[in-house]
């Protein structure tokens, strides 16, 4: 039971980080002026 709780906690932690990374992504456009 304790191990199961730990597993659940680990999954929730990873999910939070994944969601965080998925929400915002910054892109550098420096040096792209020659592309267009």
């Amino acid at each position: 039971m304790l191990a199961e709780d730990q597993d659940t906690q680990d999954i929730e932690d990873v999910s939070d980080e994944d969601v965080d990374e998925l929400l915002v992504e910054e892109v550098s456009i420096d040096g792209m002026c020659g592309v267009y």
């Binding site: 939070d16 969601v19 965080d20 998925l22 929400l23 915002v24 992504e25 910054e26 892109v27 550098s28 456009i29 420096d30």
Partner: protein, 99 residues
């Protein structure tokens, strides 16, 4: 003799959820199927907001006295922490600024 300190390469804005925030007036949001593109005309940063809910949250930030109240009103409770971290990243990119 000058002792010049090197300026910080990125003027990071400390995000405080208990403060009022708004979409930076120098930022244009363009709606996309995945969420929105945010372009900052000052620092020329391009940021993808990859959630419609995050776009709604950012667009309505100025309607609330604090970011945490905006999050509480717009975001399901289980996702509050993730969206507050997303706002912190947007503050660091100057997509949002404190009122």
């Amino acid at each position: 003799m000058s002792t010049t300190e090197a300026p910080s390469p990125v003027a990071e804005t400390a995000f405080a959820a208990d403060r009022a925030w708004r979409l930076n007036p120098q930022v244009a949001l363009r709606d996309e199927a995945f969420g929105a593109l945010a372009y900052h005309y000052g620092n020329r940063r391009l940021v993808f907001l990859k959630s419609r809910l995050l776009v709604t949250l950012v667009s309505s930030l100025a309607d609330y006295p604090s970011a945490s109240e905006a999050v509480a009103a717009c975001v399901p409770e289980r996702s509050h922490a993730a969206y507050e971290r997303a706002l912190a990243r947007l503050a660091a990119s100057e997509v949002i600024d404190a009122c």
